[in-house]
């Protein structure tokens, strides 16, 4: 087996292992409650008999590891269990919300990723100039701004004052694409703004790092044009760090979705999670938490694999 295939296989195996460990952690995280789930469903006034029946029904009398294995088995076969609060099948409720969240994140990423890379390149091109200073200023601000400040500012100006877009992002099945885009305009913008500056700054750092290499000087001393230097000599070496930046920020974006969805009352995974945390609906929280973690781990894994693929030392071993 070529070393590169081996490395990638190792990385994927590590990802799977990590996901398994995370599922244990998430399950364990919901077991530290002093009382138990049956009590919180039925409330303080429940009769002991009713509590005992529910415990039996939920399998709460079994030891924790049996319950974990049962839960894991369900997850692996696509059965995420039943919500305590609504008694609905979790997998069925999650599916449309997951689609909504991915739709929102996709459009936010589609705008923010190219924009951030182009602006990052501009910052490198005009280093220490006005554009560069502006970008580092914005990056400083953006790491300090709470998502809801950005979100409500957008609502206040663009939905309330100017009335260009709806302030509440209602979407439903069979909604025409155009209307759907109108509905997500503000939340997608908010998400973009939340990750943009950070991504620009990291892109800038990644490219600058490459531009300061000795081989860039070699290219300059061969008489190459600035543009050709970037295209032929900087870019191939900057792919891995840039992919890394993008993946990290997509992971960041996935988390930012939680708050943004609540601001815009958007029916996605984040909203669903927050609602059920408040209702203390443990099975839903476990399922959604695991999905978020899986996406996060997956994106980080893609970043690492891209870095392996882009490394000439690994592609062409001695």
């Amino acid at each position: 087996m070529s070393p590169i295939v081996k490395l990638i296989a190792q990385r994927i195996a590590l990802g799977v292992l990590l996901l398994l460990a995370v599922s244990v952690l998430i399950f364990a995280g919901t077991q530290i409650l002093p009382g138990d789930v049956a009590q919180s469903i039925l409330g303080q006034s429940a009769t002991p008999q009713a509590l005992a029946n529910l415990r039996e029904e939920l399998g709460l009398n079994d030891p924790a590891y049996i319950r974990y294995l049962r839960w894991l088995g369900g997850v692996l076969t696509g059965d995420l269990g039943t919500a305590l609060s609504s008694r609905q099948d979790i997998a069925a409720s999650i599916w449309p919300r997951l689609k909504n969240t991915l739709f929102l994140a996709f459009w936010a990423a589609l705008v923010s990723v190219p924009l951030a890379i182009v602006l990052g390149l501009l910052a490198v091109r005009y280093r220490n100039g006005f554009v560069d200073k502006l970008i580092s200023g914005l990056a400083l601000a953006s790491t300090s701004l709470p998502e809801f400040f950005v979100g409500y500012l957008l609502v206040f100006f663009f939905a309330v004052k100017l009335q260009w877009f709806p302030g509440i992002s209602t979407v439903y099945d069979g909604m025409p694409f155009g209307q759907r885009m109108m509905a997500i305009a503000l939340p997608a913008t908010a998400l973009t703004l939340v990750v943009l500056a950070h991504m620009m700054r990291m892109t800038r750092a990644a490219i600058l790092n490459v531009m300061q290499s000795a081989y860039i000087e070699t290219a300059e001393l061969k008489g190459l044009r600035a543009f050709d230097i970037i295209r032929k000599h900087a870019f191939p070496n900057a792919i891995a760090p840039i992919v890394n930046v993008v993946m990290l920020n997509l992971a960041f974006l996935i988390v930012g979705v939680v708050v943004i969805e609540v601001i815009f009352v958007y029916p996605g995974m984040g909203q669903y999670l927050v609602d059920h945390v408040a209702k203390r609906d443990v099975p839903v929280v476990q399922a959604v938490g695991l999905i978020f973690a899986a996406v996060y781990i997956g994106l980080n894994m893609v970043a690492d694999i891209a870095a392996i693929l882009a490394n000439p030392r690994l592609r062409h071993p001695k």
């Binding site: 290499s213 000795a214 070699t218 290219a219 008489g223 000439p312 030392r313």
Partner: protein, 556 residues
């Protein structure tokens, strides 16, 4: 060469390169202070005829690289050419604008960097990088350029010249990469090549091969060159003329023979006679201070053997020099002796006692007797401690000295290393390279040790500074009766200060004994290679050395 006819139709008469009153400045940004402009090169002028080699020599900060790069109109970082003219092929290139510079770089002037490993793009095959400039400037078709490149690879004695171009930079060794870089510079058949310390990063036995290859290539192609280095002996082998620079100013400029045989300036003379240190070899005593017996050591849990059955003795008040190239195990020997890397087999005896294998097993008294000085003085001192604390700590720790008593002793030690009391409150960052190393010496002396291990203590320093440190070490040895284990790759240093020598090669001691015996024939193959590779300040030494070699160097 026929291809020369395709060079730009510039003036064929007059010198190739004529630099007049060059002034180069840089903006520096000292932390916490407003940026300021400093002058790196003060009104330097030089001329270079076609096909000639001019050596630029000087210590760090002399401005030699900066001047070399100015011939391509290039300044690194915030460096700017602010005055003078650079006339190449009859025109002032500083007036040609960015486009003009681009057309000349990689066409009329090419560059060979110190570290070829960093100067090649890791993402592209060597051949693509070698022919890039030729294609860019339309000097040759791809097929023609590749044919030329292969011919150059062959001329530079690279292995498998037909296929080496298909490799990536990380797939060939440092010495080979440096030659590929030379081929890259020669490929567009330029009028001038700037060699910027092309052999400095290489091991000494590899350096000689690369040097010979470069010299031959220069001779056969008739290209002119600016050869930048800090090593006078190296430049004497390749240059027709030598220019000595210091602090951005011209010191002396003359023919190679004149510079090395009849230097007119005191500074040049100092550079020429830098290795001459008066030291009388001492005969080994009866009982060694430290004795290393059959030591074998390995990294990675015994997997990588780096020391194989090494035995050496060090006598009181004497110097044992351990010489070898990178990877020979000489620094590992120091780690085994100090207990940082416990040996797998063998023992280290000190003053008749066997030392504990591990550092933790040794009593304080043994630690005191055995001190160490490092190569990089900057990182060997805690940047947050003052010189007073650094030197005073061993006094406190080993002898319990406090307060005024300690301060008096610190002052005495500062005096010994020829630095004044004023340095007590300084931080390491406020000292020069040589001063830092002196403070490290004082710290070692403060413990009143019987033995000091010196690990490449002069190799990061400029020759004159290094010379001062060596003299200081020898003086201190006489006063304090301290023995040195002197680890180095530099044979010239060894010749000047050692009493006995151990030559190491791939983890083994291949030759060991008193200096006069080790350096006298008959030699074993490796010692012969090593000794014959040390550049001598002698015109024609290179050819003689190459002819007389019996063994191939490892870097090939």
């Amino acid at each position: 060469m026929v291809a020369k006819a395709t060079a730009p139709k510039a003036a064929r008469t007059g010198p190739l390169l004529d630099i007049r009153n060059l002034r180069i400045e840089a903006t520096v940004y000292p932390p916490g202070e407003p940026p300021k402009t400093i002058t790196l090169v003060h009104d330097v002028s030089l001329t270079l005829e076609r096909g000639k080699v001019l050596g630029l020599i000087g210590e760090s900060g002399a401005g030699k690289s900066t001047i070399g790069l100015s011939s391509m109109g290039y300044g690194r970082g915030g460096v700017k050419i602010t005055g003078g003219e650079v006339v190449l092929n009859g025109r002032d290139i500083l007036k040609g604008g960015v486009g003009g510079l681009r057309r000349l770089r990689g066409r009329e002037v090419c560059y060979v960097a110190q570290s070829a490993a960093a100067a090649f793009n890791p993402a592209h095959r060597l051949m693509d990088q070698v022919v890039e400039a030729s294609l860019l400037h339309g000097v040759a078709s791809r097929a023609e350029a590749e044919r030329r490149a292969m011919a150059l690879f062959r001329k530079l004695s690279l292995p498998s010249p037909e296929t080496i171009g298909q490799r990536y930079p990380h797939q060939v060794s440092g010495g080979q990469l440096q030659r590929v870089m030379t081929a890259m510079a020669l490929c567009p058949e330029p009028d001038l090549i700037v060699f910027d310390e092309p052999t400095t990063a290489l091991d000494v036995t590899t350096q000689i091969d690369v040097l010979a290859a470069i010299k031959e290539a220069i001779r056969d192609t008739g290209v002119a060159a600016l050869y930048i280095t800090h090593d006078l002996a190296v430049v004497a082998q390749v240059a027709d003329e030598i220019m000595v620079l210091r602090h951005g100013r011209l010191v002396e400029w003359g023919g190679t023979r004149q510079i090395i045989k009849e230097p007119r300036q005191e500074y040049t003379n100092a550079l020429v006679s830098v290795h001459e240190i008066a030291h009388q070899e001492q005969q080994p005593g009866k009982t060694p201070a430290l004795s290393v017996k059959n030591v074998t050591a390995a990294y990675g849990g015994g997997h990588v053997k780096v020391l194989k059955n090494v035995s050496v003795d060090i006598f009181p008040g004497q110097t044992l020099a351990v010489v070898g190239e990178s990877g020979s195990g000489k620094s590992t020997l120091a780690r085994a002796i100090t207990g940082l890397l416990p040996p797998e087999q063998g023992s280290v005896t000190f003053a008749g006692r066997t030392l504990g294998n591990r550092l933790a097993d040794r009593p304080k008294e043994d630690l005191r007797q055995l001190q160490m000085i490092y190569q990089m003085a900057d990182v060997a001192m805690n940047p947050r401690q003052t010189v007073g604390t650094i030197i005073g700590r061993p006094l406190e720790f080993y002898f319990g000295l406090r307060g005024r008593e300690r301060d008096a002793k610190v002052a005495e030690l500062l005096d010994k290393i020829e630095m004044g009391k004023g340095f007590v409150d300084r931080y390491p960052a406020e000292l020069s390279g040589g001063q830092k190393q002196r403070v490290c010496i004082a710290r070692a002396l403060a413990a009143k040790p019987k033995l000091i291990i010196c690990d490449e203590v002069t190799s990061a320093l400029d020759p004159l500074v290094a010379n001062g440190i060596l003299k200081l070490l020898l003086d201190l040895q006489k006063e304090e009766e301290v023995a040195y284990l002197f680890i180095t790759h530099d044979l010239a240093t060894v010749r000047s200060i050692a009493d006995s020598i151990a030559v190491m090669y791939r983890g083994e001691v291949v030759r060991y004994g008193p200096k006069s015996q080790v350096l006298a024939p008959p030699f074993d193959a490796y010692t012969d290679l090593l000794l014959s590779s040390v550049p001598e300040m002698e015109i024609g030494w290179l050819e003689k050395a190459i002819k007389g070699r019996r063994m191939e160097s490892a870097g090939n």
